[in-house]
């Protein structure tokens, strides 16, 4: 690793209660951190709280130790972070998936609905039966936002296409129940679904597995999951949390860090669909063309994808 400068940043991450390896945004953040660490050799302090009241403790403790910047992963940290950010106006904070309007806080949110729209288009095109499936994790607005964007994408590509959606559960266990995920997927396959989109953390692993076992197509989420089952992974809706974390660290490291609010969508490259060697065979040129067109339209504003969370409804 390269030598570390004295006045280098001392970054820290406070993960959400989902834990560092949630196969979702926490994991994305830690990947960003690893990349930063590889490039700069700077060690990154991390903490996985096991209940929400530890957020405030963690923020304060890191700030006191002169850690900077401090990245808080997940909306639920907002309240705690706001408090501590006021106590330490000279420390830089970054919060992901939520907005905290303070000068020394950088708020990064993602337009998951836009990314989901694209994979929705792809799903509709790839589906022969005209039936597409969605398996969500815990039934919360964030996941509804994925589903809603996905649905719009499907309808955009094939108005007659039908969406069969399932939520996995009602407790956080829903993020960690691949068995149930698999059953839900199989249930959808039994009803004719041939492309399924999993937005369910580790539960998704079961969904993707089920698709593989049944020879159906599956769409991964958050990080690029195409490599999990080359051949049945149609694509992944990538959410570049890693980028968000990485950029924050990098900026802090070369003293170009800025507060403010960033909502990262397709335009900003915050969300996207994954095309790589693992799924190129599955994506025909026409499909690619159609998706790229949609992407361009969204970026140019020709298509506006409705955001579920703007009114807690998909219309």
């Amino acid at each position: 690793a390269p030598a570390v400068a004295q006045n280098a940043a001392k970054p820290a991450i406070v993960y959400s209660t989902g834990g560092k390896f949630d196969k979702s945004f926490n994991e994305g953040v830690s990947q960003g951190a690893q990349r930063f660490n590889k490039e700069t050799g700077i060690a990154i302090a991390e903490f996985e709280p096991n209940n929400e009241t530890q957020f405030e403790q963690a923020h304060r403790r890191f700030a006191q130790r002169g850690q900077d910047p401090i990245v808080a992963v997940g909306f639920s940290q907002a309240v705690a972070l706001e408090k501590v950010a006021k106590e330490f106006p000279n420390v830089h904070f970054t919060i992901i998936d939520m907005v905290v309007p303070l000068p020394n806080v950088q708020s990064v949110t993602f337009k998951e609905h836009e990314g989901s729209f694209l994979v929705g288009v792809l799903a509709a095109l790839a589906s022969k039966s005209g039936k597409v499936g969605f398996v969500g994790g815990m039934d919360i607005p964030l996941i509804r936002r994925f589903q809603c964007g996905f649905e719009q994408g499907i309808k955009y590509a094939n108005p007659k296409a039908e969406l069969i959606a399932n939520m996995t559960g009602t407790t956080p266990a829903a993020w960690n129940d691949p068995g149930r995920g698999a059953e839900l997927a199989k249930g959808q396959f039994d009803r004719g679904v041939d492309v399924v989109y999993a937005a369910a953390g580790s539960t998704g692993i079961g969904v993707l597995q089920a698709a593989k076992d049944r020879g159906k197509l599956a769409i991964g989420v958050d990080s690029n999951q195409n490599h999990l089952h080359p051949g049945t992974m149609l694509t992944s809706m990538i959410k570049r949390v890693d980028l968000a974390a990485y950029n924050s660290f990098k900026a802090a490291n070369d003293k170009s860090w800025k507060g403010g609010i960033a909502a990262l969508g397709l335009k900003e490259g915050g969300v996207d669909w994954a095309l790589d060697k693992d799924n190129e065979k599955l994506v025909t040129p026409e499909m690619k063309a159609k998706v790229d067109a949609a992407k361009a339209d969204i970026i140019s504003g020709k298509i506006t994808v409705h955001d579920y969370m703007s009114n807690n409804a998909c219309k």
Binding site: D139, A165, G169, D177, L184, K186, S202, I205
Partner: protein
């Protein structure tokens, strides 16, 4: 018409898939409870087994090694339960709760330490798993058949063998067994070990047959459902099996019912559907299907000289 048939078939297949771990667990629990040892720890045993099944088969590359490891792991937990409840006459429910908590923690601690994937094991490939034998779409792997077989087997052991007779006796009146010159602890240990065996298989099913790998808390309450099935079946193998199937069916239907609008009612809330098995159990436990009588000595530590 034709696809209706296939839908029915697939629903039944799904039912069986979901019911398999319940059935195995229930049969295991049945032995334990019949011998007078309440087992709230089925969940924990199953979880441990699931973890070691996946971990071992990921490392060795052999599904069968995984199954073996699962059984060993579950047996260790079973022995712990026995050690606490039989040898040291501890409170059986407490021991069970402890085992559940310990399993929930240790699987992740070890998982993170060994694979650092936050308690997950690496995803398993084909030959590290138990695959369907005849009907790929039904997912009829060997353990499903094992579960189906375990029911008549359990019945036969309990009703038709010497061991079974003594098992039933020790669950009702240990003192009578003791005065008949039979060792109560040894009898109960054997019951607990049998329980471990079945729980082990159930765990293996979860992580290397139904799924391709372990993930934290992947048992998600199924141990408790199995427990409910036992009571529900009034501590008899076939009724307990029936209960497991009902729960399985409920689940299979729930999956298909999600988001469907029921005329009049409107869309049934997901949460309600997911709560159904628990609601049903409570309802049935409330004696609306007739009172279920537990083995008289269940939960009572046996002690010659108070």
């Amino acid at each position: 018409m034709d696809d209706l048939v296939s839908l029915v078939f697939l629903t039944l297949a799904a039912t069986l898939r979901v019911a398999t771990p319940l059935v195995l667990c229930a049969m295991g629990g049945l032995f334990s409870e019949k011998s007078g040892i309440i087992d709230v720890g089925l969940e924990g045993k199953m979880l441990m087994a699931a973890f070691f099944a996946a971990a071992t088969s990921a490392v060795t590359g052999s599904a069968w090694a995984g199954v073996a490891a699962a059984i060993v792991a579950a047996e260790v937990m079973a022995l712990l339960h026995g050690f606490a409840c039989i040898t040291h006459r501890g409170n059986q429910v407490v021991s069970g709760v402890a085992i559940n908590i310990i399993a929930a923690g240790l699987t992740v601690v070890w998982g993170t330490a060994w694979f650092n994937r936050g308690g997950q094991t690496p995803p398993l490939v084909e030959d590290q798993r138990l695959l369907p034998l005849l009907l790929p779409n039904a997912g009829d792997n060997i353990l499903v058949y094992a579960a189906l077989l375990s029911v008549p087997l359990t019945w036969w052991i309990i009703e038709r063998t010497r061991f079974g007779l003594r098992l039933r006796a020790v669950g009702e009146m240990p003192l009578a067994v003791d005065t008949a010159g039979i060792s109560v602890p040894w009898l109960r240990y054997r019951a607990v070990l049998l329980c471990g065996l079945f729980a082990g298989l159930a765990g293996a099913y979860l992580s290397i047959a139904q799924n391709a790998g372990f993930s934290r808390d992947m048992t998600a309450g199924q141990g408790f459902i199995a427990l409910a099935a036992i009571i529900f079946g009034k501590w008899r193998p076939f009724p307990a099996f029936g209960a497991c199937l009902i729960f399985g069916l409920l689940d299979a239907i729930a999956i298909r019912l999600q988001g469907v609008r029921v005329p009049g009612v409107g869309e049934v809330p997901v949460q309600l559907i997911q709560a159904l098995p628990y609601l049903l159990t409570v309802f049935l436990l409330a004696g609306f299907i007739g009172r279920a009588v537990a083995p008289r000595a269940a939960g009572v530590p046996y002690q010659k000289e108070h």
